[in-house]
């Protein structure tokens, strides 16, 4: 249990560092990859609802700490996105990298829509581009993250929260 928690924390801190240091370097216009969301979804989709809610919540906190704003919008949107990813992943017929990509894209959409209402972005057009571009970007990123996770942890479930 403790080992899993530490592992999740390390993954999320690494993802936060990637978000802060690498996302803007990989941006395509307004579209940036959201490493925190991709990793949070990858960590939570094969676990339970509570674990997913916790991971999403922490991912939102980390994201908010990087920006120093939108704590409520980011924690809640990420939390519901991760919970949604659990149910979506269960619904996919075959568990694999493709399913992880689809689930991550869908979770990005959930997080984006919730953020639209809770965080109220200043520019609606920018939000649209960010969200729908982010769906594709994050889905693409989910594949290597999933494969890496598989390689490190085998087929074990990484969250037992």
């Amino acid at each position: 249990m403790m080992r899993s928690l530490v592992g999740v924390a390390v993954w999320l801190i690494l993802a936060a560092a990637l978000n802060g240091a690498l996302s803007h370097r990989l941006s395509l216009g307004w579209v940036q990859p959201d490493f925190l969301l991709v990793v949070a979804v990858a960590l939570s989709m094969r676990g339970g609802t509570n674990g997913a809610a916790g991971i999403g919540f922490v991912a939102g906190m980390f994201h908010s700490a990087l920006w120093n704003e939108k704590m409520m919008a980011l924690t809640l949107s990420r939390m519901f996105a991760c919970v949604a990813s659990v149910h979506l992943f269960r619904a996919t017929p075959v568990a694999g990298a493709g399913a992880a990509a689809v689930v991550t894209g869908a979770a990005t959409l959930v997080a984006g829509v919730l953020y639209l209402f809770l965080g109220v972005p200043a520019n609606l057009l920018q939000w649209l581009v960010e969200t729908f571009g982010g769906i594709l970007y994050n889905a693409a990123l989910a594949v290597p993250v999933y494969l890496l996770q598989e390689r490190i942890a085998g087929r074990r479930t990484t969250t037992s929260l």
Binding site: I13, L14, A16, A17, L18, N19, G20, A21, L22, R25, G48, T49, N50, A53, G54, F57, G60, M61, F62, S64, A65, L66, N68, E69, K70, M71, M72, A73, T75, L76, M79, V83, F117, L118, G119, V120, A122
Partner: protein
């Protein structure tokens, strides 16, 4: 029981999220709730305790990774840019060389302009026509120079060559567009000369010696003080006693003078007034 537990934790986290959002907004001095955040942009810039605590864990690896990525990115860019920079440096070096060359040419033109201005003030000599000329070749080891004027311009052998500050020499060979001049220091150069001092107008023959100095020979009875006749610092000019040279053109200054006790002949060493190495434009005096 398990179903209510799976709702309870997300619900508690929702409440916690709202509380933390409120805490963060309050610390920043504005209300962030359902759209009011953007309408009140002013805040006092403080960071709440929870955000600060999370930043404590998140920022160090972020900064470390950012530093590493910046280093890698800069190194890669340097590698990529190196070829372009080398080309640019070569271009700049070429441009610099061109500019330096242009500056040197401008300086040369400025010097030429100054000399030409001086030439304009050259006093006209009665009975002679002035033909301005450029020095096109210098052979100081043989005490000769060549000018870009010749018979086409009316230059004839024997014509004096002068600059504003003195006598340069004498034309000895003439082509159609070129002539050659023996400088005053040439061993075959000779001219009637006069010591130009208020209390001495001694006349003698000045000859080149092939070196940097000339010798003025004055034939005189061995009487009287030598210094009364010629001494160091006296100016020596053309005497004007022949048709070749007009009178009063400065040749040089006496460095020292000696008298042969037996014959009474005075020999004075004369330093040319003109620095032959710096002569570029001259005037040929033709009749």
């Amino acid at each position: 029981m398990r179903g209510s537990n799976s709702i309870l934790i997300p619900l508690l986290l929702c409440v916690l999220g709202v509380a933390l959002g409120s805490l963060q907004s309050r610390a920043k001095g504005r209300i962030e709730a359902f759209g009011e955040a953007e309408s009140q942009p002013s805040h006092n810039g403080r960071v709440d305790f929870v955000t600060r605590s999370v930043q404590f864990f998140v920022f160090p690896p972020t900064r470390a990774l950012d530093g590493a990525l910046t280093f890698v990115s800069d190194s890669a860019m340097s590698f990529v840019e190196a070829g372009r920079l080398r080309t640019r440096v070569r271009e700049l070096e070429t441009t610099l060389a061109e500019r330096l060359d242009r500056t040197r040419r401008l300086e040369a033109l400025e010097r030429e302009n100054t000399r030409l201005r001086e030439m304009q003030h050259f006093p006209s000599v009665a009975g002679f026509r002035e033909v301005k000329a450029d020095v096109i070749a210098v052979n100081l080891s043989n005490q000769r120079v060549s000018l870009n004027v010749g018979s086409k311009q009316g230059v004839q052998p024997g014509a004096p060559v002068v600059v504003p500050n003195g006598l340069v020499g004498q034309v000895v060979e003439v082509g159609s567009g070129v002539c050659h001049v023996n400088l005053v220091t040439h061993p075959r150069f000779a001219v009637g000369a006069r010591v130009f001092r208020a209390d001495s107008q001694e006349i003698g023959i000045l000859r080149g010696r092939g070196g940097e100095r000339m010798v003025l020979t004055i034939y005189r009875e061995p009487t009287g003080a030598l210094s009364a006749l010629v001494r160091g610092g006296d100016e020596v000019t053309t005497s004007g006693l022949s048709d070749v040279y007009p009178a009063g053109i400065l040749i040089g200054r006496v460095a020292e003078a000696n008298r042969n006790r037996m014959t009474g002949v005075i020999e004075a060493t004369v330093v040319p007034a003109v620095n032959m190495a710096k002569v570029h434009e001259v005037v040929v005096l033709v009749r």
